[in-house]
């Protein structure tokens, strides 16, 4: 196709420059900040909203931790506020068992669906992906705006659910039926109903986002940006997009079915002859509680990789940039990411070993579960080897990126015993599980996202974040996270169940040591909270008083996101970028500064 390149070139300049100027009147406040169609503004909207939700989810956790350490005592500082807002459920500033359940369910939901996914996929994906592939914007800018707004209202609905009679959803973030339906059976419009409507909105938003991302990556790559020249971050977003696109709809279906169960008292997930509090439930029966679990975990497991893949993408960019070396095994990492994406769809039932599963099915899911650890290890190994022999710049973003590796490693390896049903039968629903997935998501994904914020902040604002505050933030977080989550493995191995409002004090099973650890974990969580203060100050103060960047490419990076003006204007690139080489040409012997950017002519 000899006309191919010329056509592509032609469309890029289809409109003469003067016409372009006409459209460029300064947009008003609403258009610029609220109803923006610019991917960068939408990325920042996603970022700020999800950081607020991250903070809110963290605060829910702090309340829960206090309750675990000091059951029955009023919460300091916010106790009065809670009582004023939530009434009976927080009488005297003490968290009731019901409220603890609500906080637990909402902490999980908010952290997964309203904080991490929108931050990793919505914020970084939106801001960075089009820049890295050399596109002027997303393929469907108005759809992009719509997906943010749908997400926002889904979040508002979730928050509002705290104030409906009966309180917010309290059946865990997994919302297992029949509990989720019978918890407030006589009151069809309850917190769980709001949760489900909120989830349907969040899922819709993610689906629109996924369609947009995949289309953008397929269609809007700059000239010369072939698949194997894509930065790994883009690959990670691409696979994540497919995970969201294909795994979320079954949960949407399940959400609709449970919504109908709650509102119209159908029995999709309610078995025949269900007895609650000594009375047979007045429903037809004939449904299957396991069906909910299947549909939920069909999303639930790929969701884990939705959380982790973008994090790996961010970390790869930062490691390559700060070691000043090409990523080791870029192609293997790409294929590994694709294998993770594929396998993540057929491992879901390892969350369900205890629901009564036959040996054949259990064997199948154990096998696939063990298989999926291989590509994860490939990526992690490639990143470790990338460090080898580099002259590493230890700035804050690199510190976070490097500590992601062992933290995610611990999270991943502690998952193996949960993947075998023999050991899972003992560990299931214990604090061991909590420790495992928090290691993956909190010091894993969240560290990667912090790294990303420190890394791309200069591109977004034209100023660096403060390094001293950043390092305090890093070391405080690293110590805090480990002191919080490592003892949970011990608690779990000693038999402490999750989801107990007093930490299991009144239940048989946990011993003294496990219970005592509750207090120390709570203190560590307080340390973790304090360590976030410098970060919050840093984000806001650096907008005005941070050190100014010297140029458009402050980190001497090779990818196209640094080839734009700072901050990038509407339309991103001054002229259409053309790509001549792979994404990580660092350590080039003859190049100026030792690196060659992707759009540099050979």
């Amino acid at each position: 196709m000899s006309t191919a390149t010329s056509t592509q070139h032609g469309t890029g300049h289809a409109h003469p420059a003067h016409e372009h100027h006409h459209e460029h009147h300064e947009p008003g406040f609403w258009q610029k900040y609220i109803f923006s169609t610019d991917h960068k503004m939408i990325g920042i909207q996603y970022g700020l909203t999800s950081l607020l939700f991250l903070f809110f989810g963290f605060m829910l956790m702090m309340c829960m931790r206090f309750q675990l350490a000091y059951p029955g005592k009023p919460i300091p500082v916010v106790g009065g506020l809670l009582e004023a807002l939530l009434g009976e459920a927080a009488k005297g500033g003490v968290i009731s068992a019901d409220l603890y359940n609500s906080f637990g369910a909402m902490h999980g939901t908010i952290m997964v669906f309203l904080a991490i996914v929108p931050l990793a996929f919505g914020a970084f994906g939106n801001y960075v992906t089009p820049l890295q592939i050399g596109a002027p914007d997303m393929a469907f800018p108005r759809l992009n705006m719509a997906s943010y707004h749908v997400f926002f209202w889904g979040g508002v609905l979730m928050l509002a659910s705290f104030f409906v009679p009966g309180g917010a959803a309290k059946s865990g973030w997994t919302s297992y039926s029949p509990l989720a339906t019978v918890a407030e059976f006589s009151r069809p419009f309850n917190g769980q109903t709001m949760w489900l409507i909120g989830m349907v909105l969040l899922i819709t938003s993610s689906l629109l986002g996924a369609v947009n991302f995949i289309t953008t990556i397929i269609q809007l790559r700059a000239r010369g940006m072939t698949w194997m020249r894509l930065p790994f971050f883009v690959w990670a977003q691409f696979v994540t997009g497919f995970l969201l696109l294909l795994a979320f709809p079954p949960l949407e279906a399940a959400g609709i079915l449970q919504l109908v169960d709650n509102l119209f008292h159908t029995s999709f997930f309610l078995p025949t002859g269900l007895v609650v509090s000594g009375q047979q439930l007045p429903v037809s029966g004939g449904g299957s509680p396991l069906l909910w679990q299947h549909l939920f975990w069909f999303l639930g497991h790929p969701e884990v990789y939705v959380l982790i893949l973008p994090a790996m993408g961010v970390v790869s960019e930062i490691i390559a940039n700060n070691t000043r070396k090409p990523l080791w095994g870029y192609k293997s990492m790409v294929y590994a990411a694709m294998s993770i994406g594929f396998l993540s769809f057929i491992v879901w039932a390892h969350h369900m070993y205890l629901t009564g599963m036959g040996t054949k099915v259990a064997t199948f899911f154990q096998t696939t579960t063990m298989m999926i650890s291989i590509p994860s290890v490939i990526i992690l190994t490639a990143l470790f080897i990338s460090l080898w022999g580099g002259s590493i710049r230890f700035n804050t973003s690199m510190l976070f990126a490097v500590s992601f590796l062992p933290m995610f490693g611990i999270g991943g390896l502690t998952g193996l015993p949960l993947g075998f049903n023999a050991s899972d039968i003992y560990l299931h629903d214990s604090y061991y599980v909590i420790g495992h997935f928090h290691y993956v998501v909190a010091p894993g994904t969240i560290f990667a996202l912090f790294a990303g914020i420190y890394f791309w902040y200069p591109k977004m604002t034209g100023r660096y974040m403060n390094e001293v505050l950043g390092k305090i933030h890093f070391w405080g977080s690293l110590v805090g996270m480990n002191l919080v989550f490592a003892p949970m493995f011990i608690q779990g191995l000693r038999g402490m169940s999750r989801r107990m409002s007093d930490g299991g004090a009144t239940y048989f099973g946990a011993d003294d040591i496990a219970l005592k650890l509750n207090t120390s974990i709570t203190h560590a969580a307080a340390l973790l909270a304090v360590a976030q203060i410098p970060f919050i100050i840093n984000v806001f103060a650096s907008i005005r008083s941070g050190r100014k960047v010297e140029g458009d490419n402050p980190w001497n990076a090779t990818t196209l996101d640094w080839a734009t003006p700072t901050p990038p204007p509407h339309g991103n690139f001054a002229s259409e970028p053309v790509v001549y080489r792979g994404p990580y040409e660092y350590s080039a012997p003859n190049a100026q500064g030792g690196y060659i950017s992707q759009d540099q002519k050979p």
């Binding site: 294909l246 002859g273 029966g285 069906l291 039932a349 599963m357 036959g358 054949k360 099915v361």
Partner: protein, 121 residues
């Protein structure tokens, strides 16, 4: 592929009027086939098969042929681009994974008859 023919859309992706006219004939034939397929599907309802499996297989077979006609001709999937084929291939794999693995695990459930007796209200 002429890039600058802004106005006659018929020429934009290589179709001309004659081409489209033959397409239209295809569409009408497919339409007829779909109606016939519907009649056959309903007709099968009045034919009694001994086993449920055969009934289901026959019904799904006819439905699949109809689906093939709609997707292949109306949605132009028979002459679509590679990108779309690969996207759909992945989707179809996961579609079947969801269905078969869910059903398999509900079939492979360890059961005992006493527990079943307790199940009845």
């Amino acid at each position: 592929m002429s890039d600058h023919s802004n106005h006659a859309p018929a020429h934009a992706d290589g179709h001309d009027h004659h081409d489209i006219a033959s397409h239209i004939r295809t569409y009408l034939v497919v339409f007829g086939a779909l109606l016939v397929g519907t009649v056959i599907t309903v007709g099968m309802y009045y034919v009694h098969f001994e086993s449920m499996a055969v009934t289901v297989a026959v019904a799904l077979f006819i439905a699949s042929i109809k689906a093939f006609l709609v997707a292949g001709y109306f949605m132009h999937l028979l002459s679509e681009k590679k990108v779309i084929y690969s996207m759909l291939a992945v989707t179809v794999v996961f579609f079947f994974a969801l269905g078969t693995l869910t059903l398999w695990s509900s079939n492979d459930m360890p059961r005992n008859s006493e527990a079943k007796a307790l199940y009845v209200p």
